[in-house]
Symmetry: C2
Subunit: 299 residues, 2 copies
């Protein structure tokens, strides 16, 4: 049986051949969710990490591991779920062999830099690239963390490019909806500003805080009595350093603007602490508590 025959056998599904670049938590969960929903035929896995690809195959997340060019030639939908810093090189490698009608999307946490990288790498084929970002994740990494329910009830933001065909955007939307996600659309700049605030900044602050605890002379004793507040506040700091490095670097401008605002409030809070000003501290704490309690998402 040729590769084309293997792919054709499964042509009854909405996505006959799916390729996932990066078969960890994000990519593996996307494949698993689409498979569970009966939306996908054959799943190709692409990645630099041999053991991860082999593990993804053992787990049934992918059917076979292939190179980027072969994935481009065979897949109807390609999901880039590797660190965002890798997208440019991967898209450049795929460009010449992309199957006609194929759609490429991604799960990168920043969108301005991703759109720029796609534009540079794909040139006149840019229209096939529909940028996206699932607002979901966990502190776990790797194929073993993949979960077909990861996206259930989660938000996915698509940031379509002016070049995209409406039908292609609709197909990416349908794939995410089949994973159980709610799909929103925003423009790339707006996405990056909002995400810098509600996603990237918490990770940045949690990592800074955990590194500070780690460097303390009595760090082991501190951990021994740390409780649930510490647990929840620091959970995201256990995430992939490589992935978050790329996110911070590629969303640097929005992060810096947001961090300046955080420092303004931090300075205000520290001044109140210095003065022992209970009223000012309580006002700030109450402002935060009310806002957080009012967050009605049921999560």
């Amino acid at each position: 049986m040729t590769l084309q025959q293997a792919d054709a056998r499964t042509a009854a599904e909405p996505i006959p051949v799916l390729a996932v670049v990066g078969v960890g938590l994000i990519g593996g969960s996307f494949a698993a969710a689409l498979r569970r929903a009966g939306q996908v035929g054959r799943v190709l896995g692409v990645g630099r990490n041999g053991p991860s690809l082999e593990r993804a195959r053992e787990l049934g997340l992918i059917d076979e591991a292939v190179g980027a060019a072969e994935a481009a030639a065979r897949a109807d939908l390609i999901m880039l779920a590797s660190p965002v810093g890798t997208f440019g090189a991967i898209l450049a490698e795929m460009r010449a062999s992309l199957k006609p009608g194929a759609i490429v999307t991604d799960a990168g946490s920043t969108k301005v830099a991703v759109a720029q990288a796609a534009r540079a790498a794909l040139g006149e084929r840019l229209a096939c690239f529909v940028p996206g970002h699932p607002i979901a994740g966990a502190e776990k990494v790797g194929p073993d963390a993949a979960d077909p329910c990861l996206y259930t009830g989660r938000n996915v933001v698509l940031t379509p490019l002016p070049e995209n065909a409406a039908a292609d955007v609709a197909r990416v939307r349908a794939a995410w909806e089949a994973c159980g996600a709610r799909v929103l659309e925003m423009d790339t700049v707006e996405h990056d500003q909002v995400l810098a605030s509600v996603s990237h900044m918490p990770h940045f602050l949690a990592a800074v805080y955990v590194a500070q605890v780690a460097r303390s002379a009595d760090s082991r004793q501190r951990l021994a009595i740390a409780g649930t507040g510490f647990r929840d506040f620091t959970r995201i700091a256990a995430g992939s350093a490589e992935m978050w490095r790329d996110i911070f670097v590629s969303n640097r401008a929005a992060m810096k603007a947001e961090l300046a605002e955080v420092r303004t409030v931090l300075d205000e809070a520290e001044r109140a602490l210095d003065r022992g000003d209970g009223a000012a501290l309580e006002a700030l704490l109450e402002e935060a508590a009310r806002f957080r309690r009012d967050w009605k998402t049921g999560r």
Copy 2:
């Protein structure tokens, strides 16, 4: 039946009469856990908030609401679970009527200031006060949040005073162990330094961050796409503003020292961000991720 008769009816339990000052999450859960363990006879509730006391009685957390002086006269064990800033006045009110042999303990999150307040308020009766701190809590507040399982598997730190009798410390330890907690002992200064790091600082940073998001012009849109990272990182910021105000003010010196260390790492991270220095960012992120993943508490 006189009050003394009502109390005597239940004298078979290890704690014939328990008084809880502050019948919210912490105090209510302590009473509920001891009652479930069959350790307590009658439970008296003390508080400033009439509706909370009535609700605690409806829920069966307390048997009756009484004033501080009456609680002191009748109780064998008194748990102070109101904000730490209230302890001095409550202990002063109780001092003259404390039943012989009664033990007073507390659940305050700082211990140096609490020990000072107890010393000032109790004078020659100081020996009956055994300071303690359960490392447990939740973003919920009030008697409805009380949970007999809140302390199961959690750490409780006792910081005995030089004046305490070993038998009294042992009785407080036994009460917490009956609640399912693990009991550790530390001195008051060490406790406050460690807690400033692993408990108070996360709350301070989470509140600063949430207040900054709350003040943004597009705060509603930010919340609309915030995900699980935001949820976990900010959970503690929903806690009681009054309680945390008192904690911050009473543990101000340790907080300030810790905050200076956090700012050192924050500055380092921001400089790396400014330079777009992916290697430096990744090193910091990896340091935090390894430390957090190595936290083996099963929680």
